[in-house]
Symmetry: C2
Subunit: 422 residues, 2 copies
């Protein structure tokens, strides 16, 4: 089966096997639901008017696909998502599909001519800490080798609430935050721009149908309720965070901005790339047990375009499969106390570091808390943390046999701090 | 000036000087904006149709007051809020007001016949830790007297992100959460219902006009952007919290439910009750300095109606004036890194404990982590933590000269845990 409606190269992130969902607008038309294919965005509201989804019960296609967020579509659940995917694949690959009389320009636009928006109105955003390598690295730096992992870490996916209002779509520049930090522990704290702005390589799931407050989810239910996954950069001001985070966790060191990629890759598209997650020892408590393959082989890459340069240099090569706690375990744990999940809620994995040094997912780890220079290729440039006007780009891809299921880009630039008169 | 439209007793929480905002519905009409006066709810959408607000520029009164949340009204800002307050006071106290030809039943309903809803769609919910007495008590219990307060505590209002989806309006019963806890540190954790469910006496502010991401607020701006205040019970499962919270803060120990009172008392109504906040030593950094009286004298009371009883027994007598970090300082600190605040965001104070034992704002403190029995009056009953079917009620009042500015009630009952088959 291949796409015959528009050309799709074998190296495109957006193959017929992918079909990620996003929200796009053009200079002359409002934000609505689209699906990426090759270099195009399929306009699902336009396709609805041509009857492509009219056979799917439980889907008010014209209404749902004309909305400026995916929340309503996410709420519909797996049977509708599967039917829409099948309808799209049929439309795109079958020359004799009744709607194939339309011109490409009637139902699709070039990605280069659209503006992408946040895919959902995010009600709540949670961030986990689910990579053993990352948690160990940070633990060694802050508490030494013998106390690196806290006692709870291997028993539950440690997580915390983030700030939904600070989540922005790829391409949105962010300001370096001002804040309190205490560079010298023998002196009082100081106020000013953070000097340790960092990236965190993460992915994040978006919740589909939610649960009522007081009604926990099981592992099996959680597996059905994940709509899809995006790339995420959980920007961190390490100096603000280090001073503030005891005892209630990260706060202003994180909520100045979190960037996500605009295209949500669905769990159905990721199905062929399932792999075993790392062995869990001790065995988790029964509510977190899982006999299925719940890891995903997604190659992740972070590059930096340093201030004043036109070139990208590699920082991190990692993979989602390194993650100790699976997406399903994260969602299940989050709701096991009855916490209410809602369509469009965002759950970040935490920094995805792997076993080798080049797979560390943050500058904190790569520079070992600023001790070492990170060399940017053969440019002669180095970094310890992100400098003003640096751009960080995350990409992710699943390599299939002759096709790719890719995530596009998650890009963000750090602008100089706002000058404050204090 | 006194209310001549409906009777208001001198002991009513809802005097002409108060006029708190909320969202109400009746058996036959949808949720919309109301203001409490005496035993009545004024229907602001009905008053709009009688022209009570037609002179106020920048207010589409019929539209804004017909909505099922206060977010749009909160976004309008202080000049509109003041004009609406003045218009309401004029209507209620002035017999010759042109709209006073209406019957009470045309524009008001008895509070006993309405259902109250959450006052706003809460985009983000944050909880602070701003009472020195509470932070010290908890610190002594967990870390000993010498390390009770963390070094950052006197330099900034410590806070963390909570879960917006778990905030419920007073009267909503909540289930005791299931979760992981580790009662015996020499053994693995166990799963099941929390055995240390607690209340936390708090108040919370609701944000009016917000700020764009990257644009910090100053103290002066923050003072203009607080719409009002509610009572809050930040329910806590101490055993789940103790096991999970290192190093990223409270999570499932909190997000099974947070209860707020339905009536938002405006900052203008609280103006006469401003007092000096506790002296701050060391002096805060310049961005948090404040020469105005930013404390509020609000008497707070927590009572318990134990399972099977019809009577309430006193647990806590405290006051918002004990809070070390003011509401303004909390909001300013939160946005100083450019974090975006939006209308309807909820910022909790953290547990408000005072200097005396009877003013401790949680059972954790009253029972000193379960060591002592809390006696419930002369009933012979005792508690260490909240038991199934116990009801906790928070009330708050500012006592004026011959009138009250009160908050009504913040009530919640803990139902037995859901039985899970693990």
């Amino acid at each position: 089966m291949s796409c015959t409606f528009v050309p799709v190269s074998a190296t495109s992130d957006f193959s017929l096997q992918n079909l990620p969902f996003g929200i796009f607008s053009t200079a002359t038309s409002p934000a609505r639901v689209g699906v990426a294919i090759g270099t195009y965005v399929l306009d699902l509201s336009a396709l609805s008017r041509h009857g492509v989804f009219s056979h799917i019960s439980g889907l008010q296609a014209e209404t749902v696909f004309s909305q400026s967020t995916l929340n309503s579509y996410m709420a519909l659940g797996k049977p509708v998502w599967s039917a829409v995917r099948a309808a799209l694949q049929d439309f795109l690959s079958n020359d004799s599909h009744p709607a194939r009389t339309v011109a490409v320009s009637d139902v699709a636009v070039e990605q280069s001519s659209v503006t992408m928006h946040l895919p959902a109105k995010i009600g709540d955003y949670t961030d986990f800490y689910a990579s053993r390598e990352h948690a160990t690295n940070v633990g060694v730096m802050f508490r030494g080798k013998d106390n690196a992992l806290m006692p709870n870490w291997t028993h539950l996916p440690v997580g915390y609430h983030g700030r939904a209002s600070s989540v922005v779509v790829s391409g949105t520049p962010l300001r370096r935050p001002n804040g309190q930090r205490r560079p010298d522990a023998t002196k009082p704290p100081v106020f000013g721009p953070s000097v340790r702005v960092d990236y965190e390589l993460e992915m994040a799931l978006l919740v589909g149908p939610g649960n009522e407050l007081g009604e926990p989810l099981t592992m099996a239910q959680a597996g059905e309720r994940i709509f899809g996954v995006v790339l995420m950069n959980d920007w961190s001001a390490r100096d603000i965070q280090a001073w503030e985070y005891v005892p209630l966790g990260p706060f202003l060191g994180k909520n100045f901005g979190t960037t996500i990629s605009p295209w949500v890759v669905t769990m159905e598209a990721l199905e062929p790339f399932r792999v075993a997650q790392p062995a869990q020892d001790p065995e988790p408590l029964p509510y977190l047990r899982d006999s299925t393959n719940s890891g995903y082989d997604i190659q992740l890459k972070v590059d930096i375009k340093p201030s004043g340069s036109d070139e990208y240099y590699a920082l991190t090569n990692s993979n989602l499969k390194y993650m100790y706690w699976s997406l399903k375990q994260q969602l299940t744990h989050h709701a096991i106390n009855g916490c209410s999940m809602q369509p469009g809620d965002l759950l970040g994995t935490g920094t995805i570091s792997g076993p080798t040094e080049d797979s560390f997912g943050s500058m904190l780890e790569l520079s070992w808390s600023g001790k070492n220079d990170i060399k940017l290729g053969d440019s002669g440039l180095t970094r310890k943390f992100v400098e003003d006007n640096d751009e960080i780009r995350i990409t992710g891809v699943c390599q299939g046999d002759g096709f790719r299921v890719g995530f596009g880009e998650c890009v963000g630039q750090i602008l100089p701090a706002k000058q404050l008169d204090f």
